[in-house]
Amino acid sequence: MHAREPWLYGVMVPIMPKTMFRKIIYILAALHLLLVAAVILRLLDNDKVYHSLEKPFAILTAINYSAWRFAFFTPDVGKSTEVDILLENELGKKIHYSTLEGFDFFTHNQESANRFYGYKVHAARDSTFIDLCARSACTYLLNEHPGMTKITYTMKGIKYPDLIDFRKGAKVEKGTFYRVQFGL
């Protein structure tokens, strides 16, 4: 015999009637979907509303991403951030890693490489994070290569030409916006 009722019935039935429990679940589901819709349709983008709801939204995002906007690949993916790392030792031996040449130096598969893309974007969001991430990455690589004594960590902003400019012969634009060097 299958006599079990939906989840929480066992806990809630002694406290409230079944119909009330059912109503509460429906109300919660409606509120959840309304919130998802309101965030997506930018109904809560007002500065005042946003600031007053910042913490509840952060908590909801941690739980179920109901306060999240799904706007992937917008507005522009024409810019990227690349990491260039140069390890050196006293004998002049050099090891060069660049994300522009792939992620093979650190990742075992494409999926891990995709995650490193997120790292580059997040790390570049402000100067404190760049600095912290650079120090962390340099420590990691120096531990991985015990013979090396000097490391240079460079981050470059790269802009790719749009379709029309590319056809006219426009090139990829590169510019260094962060550079740090550590020695042992």
């Binding site: 299958h2 006599a3 079990r4 939906p6 989840w7 059912r22 679940i25 429906y26 959840h32 979907l33 998802v36 819709a37 997506i40 952060a58 941690a62 739980i63 179920n64 991403y65 999240w68 906007r69 799904f70 706007a71 992937f72 690949f73 917008t74 507005p75 522009d76 993916v77 024409g78 990227s80 690349e82 994300t99 522009l100 040449e101 650190f106 075992h108 494409q110 999926e111 891990s112 995709n114 995650r115 490193f116 893309y117 997120g118 790292y119 997040h122 790390a123 994070f129 912290l132 991430c133 962390s136 990455a137 420590t139 990691y140 531990n143 790719y160 749009d162 379709l163 590319f166 056809r167």
Partner: protein, 311 residues
């Protein structure tokens, strides 16, 4: 009964009338299998990502997030008195995550394992905010739904052993409807937001995405010779995403829309290298609308037979 009353009755029925529970079982099987696949791909780089001395050290990843988030370090501090090293701890955590997902896949004590899998995933996302991208967001949404939905009603050991009532009820209907509506909203947002940018209408975003080293999988510079193709693909993307909420509810369109969505995400996987992202989007759409689409296909067969008999 007037039009308003009829509309209201249909609206109520949409959320309350029992419908087959198979989509819930399919959703559970697909998402838990996905968790296991993702974990297997993550394993070789686990220490570099998650380790206390990985690419982003624990102290720094903790600073990236809200102070109230539960970080791996917070759990490790509780276990350290038992003599567990941080290196052992991250593999212990990996083990718990995999065991939880396996329990969820088998559907035994489903609710318990769903909560454990969601909790592990939450801790991972809180601990690695720098590595989170779309695939994690949709996986987290799915795991949350598996935690609160009656996901053990179909294709589970719980149902097989009689621990869970497999009969459709209001809760299973509501669960399936919420998942379907959430996906419609997500796709509408993804498509509509793209439509706001002229770069998408011109095909530029797609072009720049496929030539970026992060995403570039093949030599695609030849696309610059056929700009109309890039533009057409852009329009196709915006169209099927924005109007997903219509296509998936019209029985005559549903199968084609689902196939178009699968095609789109296969393209994202193959041409941008976002294999897991493409896969989870396919799995979510198949879970939410695959059963209905399959019923549509079966009903086509019946209609053909009826026509043959009439002829």
């Amino acid at each position: 009964m007037n039009l308003l009353q009829r509309g209201l009755t249909r609206f109520q029925g949409f959320f309350t009338q029992p419908i087959p529970v198979a989509p819930l079982g399919i959703f559970r099987l697909l998402i838990s299998s996905f968790v296991l696949l993702q974990a297997a791909l993550w394993y070789p780089d686990w220490e570099a990502f998650v380790g206390s001395e990985g690419w982003v050290q624990w102290e720094i990843s903790k600073a990236f997030n809200h102070s109230w988030h539960v970080h791996l370090q917070d759990i490790y501090v509780l276990l350290r008195p038992w003599g567990i090293s941080d290196g052992q701890f991250i593999y212990l955590f990996f083990g718990v995550y995999v065991v939880s997902a396996t329990g969820l896949l088998l559907g035994i004590l489903t609710r318990f394992w769903a909560i454990c899998t969601w909790a592990c995933h939450y801790v991972l996302m809180s601990s690695l905010p720098t590595y989170v991208y779309g695939v994690d967001i949709f996986l987290h949404i799915s795991l949350f739904y598996l935690m609160v939905m009656p996901a053990a009603k179909a294709f589970s050991l719980d149902a097989h052993l009689g621990w869970v009532n497999p009969a459709p009820d209001w809760a299973s209907t509501l669960a399936i409807r919420v998942l379907q509506i959430h996906l419609c909203l997500a796709y509408f947002s993804a498509g509509y937001e793209k439509m706001l940018y002229v770069n998408w209408w011109e095909g530029d975003v797609l072009w720049r995405a496929v030539i970026q080293p992060d995403f570039r999988q093949f030599g695609v510079y030849w696309l610059s010779e056929v700009p109309w193709l890039v533009m057409l693909l852009s329009w196709f993307t915006m169209f099927i995403e924005t109007f997903y909420f219509i296509g998936m509810w019209v029985p005559r369109l549903r199968v084609f829309w689902l196939l178009a969505m699968i095609g789109l995400h296969l393209g994202i996987g193959l041409f941008l290298g976002l294999y897991l992202f493409g896969l989870i989007m396919i799995l979510m759409s198949v879970s939410a609308f695959g059963h209905d689409a399959w019923q549509d296909v079966k009903s086509w067969g019946k209609q053909e037979k009826r026509r043959a008999v009439l002829a």
